[in-house]
Amino acid sequence: MKFIYLLLLPSLLSCSKEENLEVIRVIEEFSLQSNIINDSYPIYVYLPENYSNDSSNQLIIGLDGDTRFNAIANLIYDKTQNGSMPPSILISIGNNKNRNRDYTPTSYEHGTGGANNFYQFIKEELIPELESRYNFDPSNNKTLIGHSFGGLFTQYIMAQNRQDNPFNKFIASGTSYWYDSGVIFEYEQNYANENIDLDVTFYNGMGTLEGGVLLASFEEMNERIDNRNYPNFKHKNELIEKSGHTCSANTIFKKGLDYVFDN
């Protein structure tokens, strides 16, 4: 029997499932009802060890909170401990089962196009609620992290107007460029048509084993956005070697946090 356990042990280490890392810092959780979407969301909160009552804390919002909260919280814990990141609050938004509704910008075969409503929920309901509970920098310099459909949503928000956009740091992992035949390219083009600058820091990552559509689209998007020559645009894109869609995510989050808080 022990032999069977030994045989099966490596399979249990698969990154296909949520990495069940234990977060040893302060964690809170509450539920937030959205009147905009008419749905409720579990909100997972990580407060840094050196959380202070002033407004120097950075706010990082992560998507797919039901499954990705622990991994990102551990990364932030490590980075704030070694001083490579400022004290940061992580807010992860749960209710993953509705990600096809909330993270997709258009109604299509695999999603119902609720990204704009979800964006309004973040701006008008979530962030005001967080402001009433925690202390963090109120300026529009927040960080948004997403993987897959979450990456699609992240880049969709990056293509929204800058005047009232609460985010200026974006980390996109394994973005679903295939969605609606590459509709995210249209949002990028529309932004470029109306703006001469994109004052954000953007880290874009993709695993090398994610298949032809994503590999080619990834290169195309990075080239297009770099060729806009936005004067205040900071961008790094990176292929994560020997990694598929699922296993590349945490590496991209880590490298992305390094990049956006170094620039």
């Binding site: 045989l7 990154c15 590459g182 084993l209 298949g211 689209s217 195309e220 869609h245 296993c247």
Partner: protein, 195 residues
């Protein structure tokens, strides 16, 4: 490099000597089959395996040499954003160390395959909606190991049909995915001895 050559040489000598020793009752066999594979994406392909018994007991250890290839020709193509001349494949050569349990008509094979997985991705994405074409390619090689279980039904002395499964133990299943397939096994029976 020298250690790899040494290991291959030892395996070769071991299999040759044991093949000769095992000829009286257990015989070499060649297995061919088709399979589905993957984790994040679905692939389909085929495999071949040359199995050498290492003793003449009823239940015996085996060593086998397998080559699996599986493909995905569609990827995440959409009607207006599709792949041209695309190939996304894994080529997986392994040496399998196994044990074969034999009953009257049923054979249960347990193996630990150890080898490589070679990923090859190449083609052109044509996105008519956005209006671009872009080539892509990626080639990588990974260490690969796992656990394989293959139950077989003996049709007669020299033919069997069965299932094959492979559970990879590597962390990233995109490098080498789960496999399940069906196969036919031709055993090179020693007919003179059988008579």
């Amino acid at each position: 490099m020298y250690s790899i050559i040494r290991i291959i040489t030892i395996i070769g000598l071991l299999s040759t000597s044991n093949t000769l020793y095992a000829q009286k009752t257990n015989n070499n066999s060649l297995e061919l089959g088709v399979l589905g594979a993957g984790d994040e994406s679905f692939y389909y392909g085929g495999y071949s395996k040359f199995v050498v018994p290492l003793s003449n007991k009823t239940n015996y250890f085996t060593i086998s040499f397998a080559l699996t290839a599986y493909f995905d020709f569609k990827g995440e193509s959409e009607p207006n954003a599709y792949l041209v001349d695309d190939i996304d494949m894994r080529l997986i050569p392994t040496v399998n160390f196994g044990y074969s349990l034999n009953f009257n008509k049923v054979q249960l094979n347990f193996e630990v395959p150890i080898g490589l997985s070679c990923a090859h991705t190449k083609g052109t994405l044509v996105n008519e909606t956005i209006g671009f074409e872009r080539d892509y390619s990626n080639n990588e090689v990974f260490f690969n190991y796992g656990f394989s279980f293959s139950p077989k039904y003996k049709i007669n002395n020299s033919n069997s049909i069965g299932l094959t499964t492979f559970l990879p133990f590597i962390k990233d299943k995109a490098q080498s995915g789960y496999q399940i397939g069906i196969g036919w096994t031709k055993t090179f029976a020693n007919n003179v001895y059988k008579k």
